[in-house]
């Protein structure tokens, strides 16, 4: 059933997002061509400016629409009239949440790939490719110098931490919408209030964890300066650990409300 839900979810969101991604990529190609041809013609210059403006708009839309659609889709499909359809399907609330979460992560990753690809289409040439390679080597060289031979592990941790942060943000929004729907008659307002309240609670919790960690031996500033190899790993692991913890809490909250407290009006 999750497969069917996911198929349905990706179709419903893809029909909006894919055209936007397509336009972004086409506009980057158009601009590339316009940049490459000689522009001593006034009309070409004007067209070039308009196209560049359109391109910047499209890039912003790629990121913002993806983000807004992730939120709107969850709210509209589950909390408004469409919820009557989704919540009477013979599926578990957990599967509804999973299908939306997986499709959101997917589109988030695709939107990043589209953004990077469009920049490559727009800007990449042999000279710049050389520069990027040099910059890349410099960065990795520095990494190795500071963090030792297992700097790859650190990069892996950083990527993992980023992905978990994204999941954590999405699930925070889901949980806020779910808690908000318990406020009879003020669902959207309730969702905003819940978002702020949950964020503050998460901040306080994080601060408390930090303070507790600071009391452990070996964590004074003087000692930390000597631990250049282990400190970044500790920070990453902390971000990952807290991210997993918060994500689990939001996920469980959302599922609990949908299973035990559903109140569609």
């Amino acid at each position: 059933m999750l497969k069917k839900l996911l198929k349905n979810e990706i179709y419903a969101t893809g029909r909006i997002l894919l055209p936007i991604y397509g336009i972004t990529l086409i506009l980057s190609l158009v601009n590339r061509i316009l940049i490459d041809i000689n522009r001593h013609n006034a009309i070409l210059n004007i067209i070039g400016s308009i196209m560049m403006f359109s391109y910047v708009t499209a890039i912003i839309a790629t990121i913002i629409v993806t983000f807004i659609l992730i939120i709107l889709r969850f709210y509209r499909n589950l909390m408004t009239d469409e919820g009557y359809l989704m919540f009477t399907l013979p599926v578990k609330p957990l599967q509804l949440i999973n299908s939306k979460l997986i499709s959101s992560i997917l589109w988030f990753i695709v939107s990043i790939i589209v953004t990077i690809s469009s920049l490559i289409i727009l800007l990449l040439n042999a000279e710049r490719a050389g520069l990027i390679r040099e910059g890349w080597n410099l960065i990795f060289g520095t990494f190795k110098e500071y963090f030792g031979d297992n700097y790859y592990l650190l990069i892996f941790e950083a990527v993992l931490a980023s992905i978990i942060s994204v999941i954590q943000q999405i699930l925070l929004i889901y949980a806020s919408i779910a808690v908000g729907h318990l406020f009879t008659g003020h669902k959207v307002l309730g969702a905003f209030a819940s978002y702020i309240a949950i964020s503050i609670a998460a901040q306080i919790f994080t601060s408390i964890v930090m303070v507790i960690i600071a009391y452990f031996p070996g964590s004074t500033v003087e000692e930390l300066e000597t631990q250049f190899e282990t400190l970044p790993h500790m920070v990453m692991l902390l971000i990952i650990g807290l991210g997993v913890l918060f994500s689990a809490a939001y996920y469980i909250t959302t599922n609990y409300i949908f299973s035990k407290k559903l109140n569609l009006e």
């Binding site: 469409e82 009557y84 013979p90 569609l264």
Partner: protein, 232 residues
Amino acid sequence: MSAILECRSLTKKFGSVTALNNINLTLERGKIVGLLGPNGSGKTTLIKLINGLLVPTSGTLYVAGMAPGVESKKIVSYLPERTYLPDWLKVSQAIEFFRDFYEDFDPNKAYDMLRRLNLDPDRRLKTLSKGTKEKIQLILVMSRNADLYCLDEPIGGVDPAARDYILNTIISNYNDNATIIISTHLISDIENILDEAIFIKDGNLYLHSSVDDIREKEGKSIDSLFREVFRC
């Protein structure tokens, strides 16, 4: 065979407002049941509880012996009193959706009914009138081979000609093992097809009886009795 629906001391409150108060109700299989009451009497609340869209404040509710959940949703076909299909779908895509998720859905039945009512499967739902959308939803819901149908105001927004066709559809799709709950206040239109009537008054079960018994005992039609009971 067990009862298709069983409510024990079922109560639902919204804040301080009691929508349903201590309902005890058992429905057998193979009946067409009219769920009757004025606006705001608790009809929709009861139907939403059956479908798991609301959770009871207290008491229990069982569909074929099961609490509302994945298994009960497989055998309950629900028509809400609002349009619940995403409006960007084509009619044919809505049929695909139902075929995907409900094992008991029969697409041939759905396409047959569309043809009978001259509805084009390639149209997008947003281009259709409210009444047409209601027809499509009813077609989808009745094309399932379910054990319990919950139809919330199925004929409210539909013209009288289509109303007859729809009521016929309901009766002809009805198998011996299935029960149909129809909530409405258009009693005279459906009176002829009902086996049983339930009157709900201010969240309380006022009456649950077979239509024949009511006619025999009270000597009047359901419609007249309704007007008497709910006189303003």
